[in-house]
Assembly symmetry: D2
Homo-oligomer: 343 residues x 4
């Protein structure tokens, strides 16, 4: 049983983290901070938690974060980097669900996030928390950068092919579709029900912040430059990411289904579907699974990978808890045993 704190628990990532943590067998939820909601019972803001926690939001300063063994940041980008050094020095381990520590290069980070990085010297020690890739490093990490939602779905879908060396890494297309919760709980016109419902659109075609994160992850595998076209789309639903990935086969003979099954055989949270399948986002709603199918239409030279996750779970809070489990040597599935809610 460890003491856990959450900084910034008022967004969708935050409430999802709380939903999962209140039932985690090895966790005592010690403190939840929010400047805006300090003093308000958590269950007042999130009525699904009535009866599950009596905590109130507290100010980040009063919060006794340093008494925790682990602190999650579920804050907007740019907050964690101002608080993490002090916590690490106090011996607290940290999982940042925002983007502050995801890119290895401070220069890249500053370009894509449009602000100076407050502690670039920590970028190197931060472990990129795609558990299926970095499990050992996560276990030892003091600071984990939890991956973005799109990057999780895209990397889990592409890595087996890149590791096997069977595709042209210079021209990968990632056409990704996200539910609206990926845009957060902030009040903006574009994500009102009347704007986003019964509507479908692409956005950020000329450059989305998850592009460098995905590219970095793929390049770490290939050891060479990766050419990636990444187009995110907004889908009229609450949860779920569906990544449809396209790459050119290099001709090397390969059983694509085998490649995926072999890569993920021992992974509890990555499920390779039978050949010919089409994963549905609802099959992972509320669950920490990534479900993947691989196709080679008309036996031509283009491979198509379909990869689905719940953006708030495997794409955020669930993966963070998976990383916590690895860091503290809990069973990797602890607190993540629920089946997806269907229908």
């Amino acid at each position: 049983m460890i003491k856990v704190g959450v900084v910034g628990g008022t967004g969708y990532t935050g409430v999802e983290l709380l939903r999962l943590l209140v039932n985690h067998p090895d966790v005592e939820l010690h403190v939840i901070t929010s400047r805006a909601e300090a003093g308000r019972p958590v269950a007042d803001l999130f009525p699904n938690l009535r009866g599950f926690t009596s905590l109130e939001f507290s100010m980040p300063d009063d919060a006794g974060l340093e008494q925790c063994e682990l602190v999650f940041f579920a804050t907007p980008n740019g907050i964690a980097m101002t608080m993490v050094p002090r916590l690490l020095e106090a011996g607290v381990r940290v999982i940042d669900l925002a983007a502050d520590f995801r890119l290895g290069s401070a220069e890249d980070w500053e370009q894509w996030y449009g602000m100076p990085h407050a502690c670039p010297e920590y970028l190197e020690q931060a472990v990129y928390g795609l558990t299926e890739v970095n499990r050992e490093a996560v276990a030892a990490a003091r600071l984990v950068a939890n991956p973005g939602c799109y990057p999780t779905a895209v990397q889990l879908g592409m890595l087996p092919l890149l590791e096997a060396g069977v595709i042209d890494a210079g021209h990968i297309v990632a056409d990704a579709k996200s539910g609206v919760s990926g845009a957060g709980r902030k009040a903006v016109t574009g994500t009102l029900l009347c704007e986003a419902s019964e509507n479908f659109k692409a956005y950020g075609v000329d450059g989305h912040r998850h592009l460098p994160e995905i590219r970095q992850g793929l390049e770490r595998v290939t050891g060479q430059p990766v050419g990636l076209t990444f187009v995110p789309h907004l889908t009229p639903m609450i949860r779920g990411i569906h990544a449809t990935l396209y790459a050119r086969l290099t001709g090397k003979a390969a059983d694509l289904q085998d490649i995926f099954e072999a890569r993920y055989r021992d992974e509890a949270f990555v499920d390779v579907l039978p050949a010919g399948s089409h994963p549905e986002t609802r099959s992972v709603r509320g669950a920490n699974h990534c479900r993947i199918a691989v196709h080679r239409p008309q036996q031509a030279d283009t491979v198509v990978v379909l990869s689905v996750i719940d953006n708030l779970v495997k794409g955020a809070a669930g993966q963070a808890i998976q990383n916590m489990n690895v860091m503290f040597a809990f069973p990797e599935q602890a607190g993540l045993t629920g089946a997806a809610l269907l229908p």
Copy 2:
């Protein structure tokens, strides 16, 4: 640990039962039957269960249902009554999630369900499984008639007022709204996304099968005839029932908030919200809770009660498990500890 069987696990009530049972600490899921899907892995039909169960659907006849301590029926109306007597005689206890044993009067049943009842002699021993009303009888029951979804939301909302004797029982209005999953998984035009989405309508205004069930429940409390106008509506969402209940206060001085809080103080699954609240269906999505608020607008003589449940959980599978827990002396919340999925 008891052996449990499910008859008819291919509808929404069935898959929800499975989702909850696979994680129940005291249950071994022994057999799931479906004539139509016999031989097919359950997780193939319901991909959210991949990794949670390796069971296949089996024919009801081969099923070894008699080896179970408890069998749930998640079948269409009219099936359970043909199989229940044999199971009861074999010493198996039964919870029927359909309507076969909900009405005390065979005559009423035959009128509203339009077919002869196959075993009217069992109606008397069937216990109506609204746990918060009949807990002791449920504990001892061999056969539990699990309440309908609307009847659960409406009765939990009205009973405190009737028990306290503060309203005119002759003129109650129950305006109820249900998500589309209440209509089941059967392929019919009316519940296609393109028919039911972006649309709102009433149905069955001139007589819905849940009317006699609700009336019976209310009359058992008052001991006198109840006048009920019940209007169900179809709401463009998957899960959730919101019942808005109207009744005339009789003038007897009463603190309405107190009445509700006192009635449900010891109930784990009924949550009385603070005065002035408006419960949301999403606050119970996937959870077994009923959340209730009571209002007296403009301090006039009409009381308004708002009552929400997840029709598939407290309105079906969850309440069935709650009843199972009571029947087998498990902790009443066993297997029902998850918080609602929000957003």
Copy 3:
């Protein structure tokens, strides 16, 4: 052909007004104002209008509103009342789609809208624009207060019964459900897709601003106090209002279906459905119709009326155009001939 101006064309009522006006045969759209969007092409904000208008938003002050024969206000409550007197004095006729002139009593208005009224002396000359009730007064009006969305659906549903004197006016229940567009285009958390989708809730049970408006309309018909319980609900869809109305029959013999058919026989926009029907909101999506059905369940003494409109059309922009047509002696259906979009 008249010159028309729109003040505040950036909300949902505004864009709906524009959608209808750009195809109206007798209207030249002369000016659209918006402080926030001045200088921006209308079709840039509302891409559905690309190719339909080349107008830009202009500042209210520069707008040449006084050159128009008619100005619509599609502004938040409290704006029109500051500008209307000057326009009326300049000989411009006005239709206010907001609430500024809907209540006859300034005192009531100030209580419910929480601000002083800027020109209470105009309340008396304002004609309440429920066309089917006040057609003659509308024709002669200089200033029309266009009804609210709920009030339109509820009054059209209740008036025939009150006019016929067959119900107890002291205890009417109006349980009303609205799509989210009724809440407007303002960025607030509560109407984000992730908050309002897959969710159903009541709001304002203890007092909604449309309550006094509805009560006033009903009392003008009965000439006596009306007891009304009005409960609005938020429904997870974009457009549509469904009002379910309950009243006690007084015993006077009456053919309810006849009462409705007789009342609306000559109305182009009110459609009384055959006995036993359940109107759907989608049957009026984008159209100016109100469709109504009347029921007497179990032949008991409670009458149930179902009334549906599109809140943005018959509940706002469409009724405003209907009123304009009456004011300027255009055919009442001019510009309103489109059939509802289904599916």
Copy 4:
């Protein structure tokens, strides 16, 4: 004014055709057939048409189709081909909204549609009704094969680039997303609200019937084989298609924005958005427009085209009316002047 008949008016394409035809200034709707609904008023099945037409469905045999100048087929695939020859011989012109005459090769047709073609000798004279490509041939046609919904969105998006010769035609990716109405009004489990809502999935990755149709259209432009990977997806909304198209630039210098603007400058129904735009499906809901944007992310060698239509309008009924207008020398926009319904 021409007499028009509709065969098979009970699906979504049919009701959309009716919605548009009842307001077309040059059309008299003479007959609507449906075996299943013969004798039933159209407005009873589709309540949005109450007050717009008093027609009843009739049997195809009695229908007086031969008295029409034009007959639309809105039937399932395989019906039109059995009736068209007789109508053509009787001098009636035909627009088939199904797929019977879309492919030039009977062999291809039989392979993809899984049945023998009833009149392969008519395939050659059928004009493929993508109006923006074949306007002159459509004007003279006796038989028009109205394009599929995906093929319309994809071809309009890719043709300018292929005509300009600036992309590698051997490796085109079309990632397309459709609202559920594309699957029709037939009662099947997969398109129930509870299955298709709050869900996103690909389907038909290994081969969809629109693949050969799109490829044929593109090859007619290039005069050489086209390599196309086409992946359709089901999106949780009623209407709309969003095609995201990817191709490799061949290096030939080209201003992509110019190419699109020049190609569609004179087209009333194809709208090229300003550079940097992201078209939304709702901007064409209920309207006959295709809105397109072209991007070149990071100035790399992959071009991305975004193309949106309403699948039931420009992807079906609207384009059929556009073709009728061309065939009968009506103004091309007649009956298609409505702006999209937003929100």
